[in-house]
């Protein structure tokens, strides 16, 4: 029933091109800047007139003292640890909410939602003071703990939505057919739950990878500073050169994992993003 005339096709192609330009122009601009030499950085051209990889190599010069290596290791480690812990805790909670009967379910879900809307800036002051008092300031756990707090609501909502769809009676069916409870769980339930768990993990990782407010307030050195915070504090090679090329190169590097995730898992990300909000 849809209009498939050449004119309609032309219209859709135009819309597609516009959407692609919208999404990609800033990213292409960063890639272009990251490949330009300092002399051509201000020429305003999308295609660099003189290519260089210096912007990337200087980020890693000096090994662990380099501007980006430590922050990159910190970002990856902190985001991964936060993801594993958040998804594990959220799975317990989501299982209880989706399968067990107990008073207080609505309170937990409403509370989680309230936390998702909580302004982080309202707690950074107290956290700064508390973390300094108990030695968590400028450490991995000092960042992981707030990330868990703000990622858990997202993970719980996603997982509850997925767990509600799992036909749990299959577990008993497998046991009737002679499987042990462990086999029934690992062979039947785990494969069914995996996509949801995985989706929650991607969303939590993107959240932790993205954070800036906690990263600049609760760290003070490369010991635990993540890439977004490190980028904001990059210095030029001398007082008179802006570190544009270096920042662009670092920006491209932190964007690569996001683009890889999006390319491979776009369907899951969309399902996870909308699961909580629409199905409720």
């Amino acid at each position: 029933m849809q209009d498939t005339s050449p004119r309609a096709k032309g219209g859709w192609t135009l819309a597609l091109v516009l959407i692609l330009c919208y999404a990609l122009i800033p990213v292409i601009w960063l890639v272009s800047l990251s490949l330009k030499t300092p002399a051509t950085v201000s020429d305003g051209s999308f295609i660099p007139k003189a290519f260089t990889l210096d912007n990337y190599s200087t980020l890693f010069q000096g090994g662990f003292d380099s501007p980006l290596l430590r922050p990159l290791i910190n970002s990856v480690s902190i985001a991964l640890i936060a993801t594993v812990i958040a998804v594990t805790l959220a799975s317990f909670t989501a299982y209880a909410i989706a399968r067990l009967t107990f008073p207080g379910k609505t309170v937990i879900l409403a509370g989680a939602l309230a936390i998702a809307m909580f302004p982080p800036i309202s707690v950074v002051g107290p956290l700064y003071d508390m973390w300094r008092a108990i030695g968590l300031y400028d450490t991995y756990p000092g960042l992981i703990i707030p990330y868990l707090t703000f990622a858990l609501p997202l993970a719980i909502y996603t997982l509850v939505a997925f767990f509600r769809e799992i036909p749990w009676e299959l577990e008993q069916a497998a046991q009737v057919d002679g499987a042990t409870p462990w086999q029934a769980f690992t062979r039947v339930i785990m494969p069914l739950a995996a996509p949801g768990v995985f989706t929650a993990a991607i969303l939590v990782f993107i959240f932790a990878w993205n954070d800036f407010v906690f990263a600049i307030t609760l760290t003070s050195s490369d010991r635990s500073r993540t890439v977004p915070a490190a980028m904001a504090f990059f210095q030029g090679e001398s007082q008179f050169t802006a570190p544009t090329g270096n920042i662009a190169a670092a920006a491209v590097l932190v964007t690569i994992p996001i683009i890889v995730f999006v390319l491979i898992f776009q369907r899951r990300i969309v399902a996870g993003l909308t699961a909580g909000a629409v199905k409720g």
């Binding site: 009967t101 936390i115 302004p119 950074v124 307030t217 999006v262 776009q266």
Partner: protein, 317 residues
């Protein structure tokens, strides 16, 4: 409400026994309840640890003079921190700035997000490609998005000043209006996809038959949109608006990267950061934090009570 909902399949035994002997029921339900609380406890504790406790601590700090630069002068000062904040023109300027960014960006995002959702819903081909490309702005680190647009507009590295119709050496970050435009543009660019995806999921739940019937009755595309799509999408729109409004109200990253609040572009979050972290004035900064928290509560209250936004957790099956 979930508590009233019957247990999911997989527990016929519980349901049967509940109807039967009350003595057995209480044991079984008690065990189930205990298990549920044990499973929920870790997540609940972590969530409270970094929100409820610190916000109470912020209230405590906000009625004291706590300046880490002058540690000896600490002491209880009552509401004087709040008086200082509320009587300062800077606070009201920042509230106005934050509201401005929130209202403009959310309004534009809603219109563009709706357009994008309709395009994605009706797309004839390349749906996967469209979805992949719009997810890039959503997934990209906010600081990176801010740098990308900063570098695009800044005269020393940008391409915008080289475009036709734009003065060659316009200093975008040198005046309030143009700096705000770029900040709002960045916010919009990053979050239109999020709104579009939420609305797209809502569109998918609308029965196509309604459109067919309306078409048979002679309704134009415009009428079909206003009379069918919009009313049926209202719940999804309100949820998207609530999330985005609260999110936009926290605007921090892009302003920090682009202007650090210069040219009168400071937001309330930047003000809080400056007081707390740059000036180490925890008392005054905490008063700002508590006031921001109250503003966010007010916005949520207006949405839930005033517009009847149904919070997702209450619409469970």
């Amino acid at each position: 409400m979930s508590t009233a909902a019957p247990t999911q399949v997989g527990q016929p035994a519980t349901a049967r026994r509940r109807r039967g002997g009350p003595a057995q029921t209480s044991d079984r339900t008690k065990a189930e309840r205990n298990l549920a609380y044990k499973l929920c406890a870790p997540a609940v504790i972590v969530m409270l640890l970094v929100t409820v406790y610190p916000i109470i601590y912020a209230v405590v700090l906000s009625v004291q003079k706590v300046d880490l630069r002058f540690p000896d002068e600490s002491g209880f000062v009552g509401l004087s921190n709040y008086v200082s904040v509320l009587s300062s023109p800077l606070w009201w300027q920042d509230v106005f700035n934050t509201t401005l960014v929130t209202v403009i960006s959310v309004a534009v995002e809603l219109v563009l997000g709706m357009a994008l959702a309709l395009v994605m819903h009706r797309a004839l081909f390349a749906r996967g490609l469209i979805r992949t490309s719009v997810l890039i702005p959503y997934g990209i680190v906010t600081v990176v998005a801010a740098f990308a647009w900063f570098f695009a507009f800044d005269p020393s590295s940008g391409f915008v000043d080289h475009l036709p119709l734009i003065p060659d050496d316009k200093a975008w970050f040198g005046s309030r209006g143009s700096a705000f435009s770029v900040i709002i543009l960045t916010e919009i660019w990053k979050t239109v996809p999020f709104i579009a995806l939420l609305l797209l999921a809502g569109l998918a739940t609308i029965d196509e038959g309604l459109y067919e019937a309306a078409r048979v009755d002679g309704a134009t595309a415009w009428q079909r949109f206003w009379r069918i799509t919009l009313p049926l999408l209202k719940p999804a729109i309100l949820v998207a608006l609530l999330f985005r409004t609260l999110d936009a109200f926290r605007v921090f990253d892009s302003i920090f990267v682009m202007t650090r609040g210069s040219q009168d572009t400071e937001s309330v979050s930047i003000l809080g950061y400056n007081q707390l972290i740059s000036r180490l004035n925890l008392g005054l900064g905490s008063a700002v934090s508590v006031l921001i928290f109250i503003l966010v509560l007010l916005i949520a209250f207006v949405f839930v009570r005033g517009f009847g936004t149904s919070i997702p957790s209450q619409g469970e099956k």
